[in-house]
């Protein structure tokens, strides 16, 4: 994670300098943007709870339209037939809507877990799932701290269902279906711009927002970010998740593997050679 964030701040600094240097350099500043992570900003204060995003998502991915009702106190979860859900919460600041889907982590646990690269972090930002590679081991589900990937348990040819930030639509130059359908709570853009936007909104109206952007640092930073009028732990968010990336947890083990692979056989061979004389003496005792 540290590298990504460093790069991110570097990019931020460079952009700042470029802007300071004047508009003549503006053309070059658009160059790094091409490989920047795309993401989404969800502003709870703007959400009407209309669930147009749910419908647009279902239509655009060929999934059944959501039928269940949205009620406070009932937490609907994303499932193998629903990639995004909107829930309503009774909080200390009144009724607040929250949309849930894949967070599109900067360093996703699911892609680090995947042994076939079926779960894949694209350079544009979306984390996608590729059917031709997946063997259905479900290690991505074990690893994801947000419990996002869903598995079609009742199919002989099961797929993993999760939000892919409409990667196909992005390739066509369109924006994700939910953002297109949303009357104003969802904003699609580069992660850097969205962070700036989120900070700006919080600073401009400090009385309307809690001073936190969920997704800025959690799990090493995510592509989907939230700002809200109520504290995030009242909105079904896990605020105890670590701020460093999840793949870092198994990095130490993986780095030790090549060392063990060289050192242990050498050691074993050494012991085996060293016990040779021993054997010659004791052979007859058997």
């Amino acid at each position: 994670m540290s590298i990504d964030r460093r790069n991110f701040f570097k990019a931020l600094g460079v952009t700042g300098l470029t802007l300071a240097a004047g508009k003549s350099l503006g053309a070059t500043s658009s160059e790094p943007e091409k490989t920047e992570f795309r993401g989404m900003l969800y502003d709870s204060t703007q959400c009407l709870g209309c669930r147009a995003c749910e419908e647009a998502c279902a239509t655009s991915h060929g999934l059944p339209l959501p039928q269940d009702e949205m009620k406070a106190g009932v937490i609907r979860k994303t499932s193998e037939i629903q990639r995004t859900v909107v829930n309503t919460y009774n909080t200390s600041k009144g009724e607040v809507f929250v949309k849930k889907q894949c967070m599109h982590c900067n360093q996703p646990a699911c892609t680090a877990a995947c042994l076939t690269q079926a779960m894949y972090k694209t350079k544009e930002g979306p984390v996608i799932w590729r059917a031709d590679k997946c063997m259905g081991c479900r290690y991505c589900m074990v690893s994801c701290p947000f419990d996002v990937p869903k598995f079609e348990y009742h199919s002989a040819n099961p797929k993993i269902q999760k939000c892919d930030l409409c990667y196909d639509r992005l390739q066509e130059g369109k924006i994700p279906a939910c953002a297109e359908a949303c009357p104003g709570a969802l904003k699609f853009g580069s992660r850097r711009e969205l962070l700036d936007e989120a900070r700006k909104r919080i600073i401009e109206k400090p009385e309307e927002y809690v001073n936190m952007i969920y997704g800025e640092t959690v799990a090493g930073g995510t592509g989907f970010m939230y700002i809200s009028p109520a504290p995030f732990n009242e909105l079904g968010f896990d605020t105890t998740l670590q701020n460093s990336s999840y793949p870092a947890l198994s990095k130490g083990f993986l780095f030790a593997v090549p060392a063990v692979f060289v050192l242990l056989p050498t050691l074993l061979l050494g012991i085996q050679q060293a016990t040779k004389s021993n054997q010659n003496k004791e052979e007859d005792h058997e």
Partner: protein
């Protein structure tokens, strides 16, 4: 079924080779043994359930949920089964690297056990894969997920199975009377052993490392960054307890296979193994204590999960460790067997606590395996025992190698 006459003529025509294999395929001994009466209906039911699983999907036969995607088939069949197969790498280390000849009479049966465990538990893994037709993807190289611990484990399973097959292959050559092949295969043993021990160390710990990223899902009493070390250390005494347990059953069931000399050395072997077990368990307990105190985990102790933790650690690690030590000092073989059985229960508890019981321990809806999951698990175990029995009664595993093979050594 006592020492079947193995006499494959040297220049055998194709026909007689077939006849040999067909005669070897035929069952030997009584059909209606208690084991057969229990295992055959279970296995038939298991096969039916497996057919349903591939026809209707995993959800039709298991209780797995979106929150708990790995259940009994992974937690018990694979993770626990592989720990019990750890005896093979420990014993090959003792016999081939340290050259302690005392254990030589049990090394072959332990390797066979390890090999079959891997074949069947990796097989059980296939049942759990949603898209098993893509299982070759991480192997043939069109998509290497090199950042994945599971990638490492998958490769190590495959390579270790090959290494164990090579280690065991002299017995197959002796069965077939293939003298030249036996000579070549025996020459590969040391290389396979060194390779196999390295692979074992890495994937025994790797199975623990699989759960490193599930930091927020496993109960804190069982999660630490040292899970890989814990899994590795506990695989030593898990494997050896299995060797003691399995050996005491084999020596009764297959007593006609075991020579007088080996029968006599059996007690000495079990006695030495109990000493190793006690030592390894002490190291394991000490590591756990370090993690517990260093992680300041006192607050979790006075909770239901905390009591459960104490049951595992005291009842099934500390007590059997003391039993091993006590019976090691007193040469009490029966007590050693009791300690081995308790240790095995402890290992099952530990692996299930990490993978199933402690996994999402705080979820509103808990995962309990369906009866069909148990039946399939039993089917896998019974199938392994059937193959094990088939090999034992035909190849020189427990009994002495044929005279010509001994001369070569």
């Amino acid at each position: 079924m006592n020492n079947p006459a193995i006499s494959v003529p040297k220049e055998n025509s194709e026909k007689s080779v077939w006849r040999f294999f067909l005669s070897e395929l035929k069952p030997r001994g009584k059909w209606l043994t208690p084991f057969n009466i229990i295992s055959i209906p279970v296995m038939i039911m298991g096969v039916i359930i497996i057919v349903i699983r591939f026809w209707k999907g995993i959800g039709a036969v298991t209780n797995l949920t979106q929150e708990v995607p790995w259940g009994l088939w992974i937690g018990f069949d694979v993770v626990t089964g592989v720990a019990f197969a750890g005896g093979a790498y420990v014993l090959t280390f003792i016999v081939y690297i340290l050259r302690i000849k005392k254990f030589h009479s049990i090394v072959r049966v332990t390797i066979l056990n390890g090999f079959l465990a891997y074949v069947f538990y990796a097989g059980a893994l296939l049942l759990d894969l949603g898209r098993p037709w893509n299982v070759v993807n991480p192997i043939i190289g069109n998509s290497f997920g090199t950042s994945s611990v599971l990638f490492l484990v998958a490769w190590h399973f495959l390579l270790y199975m090959i290494a164990e097959l090579i280690e065991f292959s002299p017995a197959i050559a002796e069965w077939l009377g293939a003298k030249r092949a036996r000579k070549i295969l025996s020459g590969m043993t040391i290389a396979a052993v060194i390779f196999g021990i390295t692979l074992s160390c890495l994937h025994q710990s790797g199975l623990g490392a699989l759960y490193l990223m599930a930091k927020d899902k496993i109960h804190p009493l069982w999660y630490s960054e040292f899970i890989p070390v814990m899994f590795l250390v506990s695989s030593v005494f898990a494997g050896l307890s299995m060797v003691i347990f399995e050996g005491s059953i084999s020596s009764k069931v297959f007593s006609d296979q075991i020579s007088e000399k080996d029968h006599h050395s059996e007690k000495g072997i079990i006695h030495s193994l109990s000493g190793i077990c006690a030592g390894a368990m002490f190291a394991y307990l000490f590591l756990n204590l370090l993690v517990f105190i260093h992680g300041k985990r006192w607050e979790y102790l006075n909770t239901p999960m905390g009591y459960w933790y104490l049951v595992e650690m005291i009842g099934f690690v500390l007590v059997p460790m003391l039993l091993f030590y006590y019976s090691y000092r007193r040469m009490n073989i029966n007590l050693i067997k009791v300690a081995a059985a308790m240790t095995m229960i402890g290992i099952i508890l530990n692996r299930l606590n990490v993978t199933v019981i402690g996994f999402r321990w705080n979820a509103p809806v808990h995962y309990f395996p369906s009866w069909m999951e148990y039946v399939v698990t039993l089917t896998v175990i019974f199938a392994e025992i059937w193959i094990f029995r088939w090999i034992i009664t035909r190849m020189p595993v427990l009994r002495e190698s044929p005279a010509w093979a001994k001369e070569e050594e």
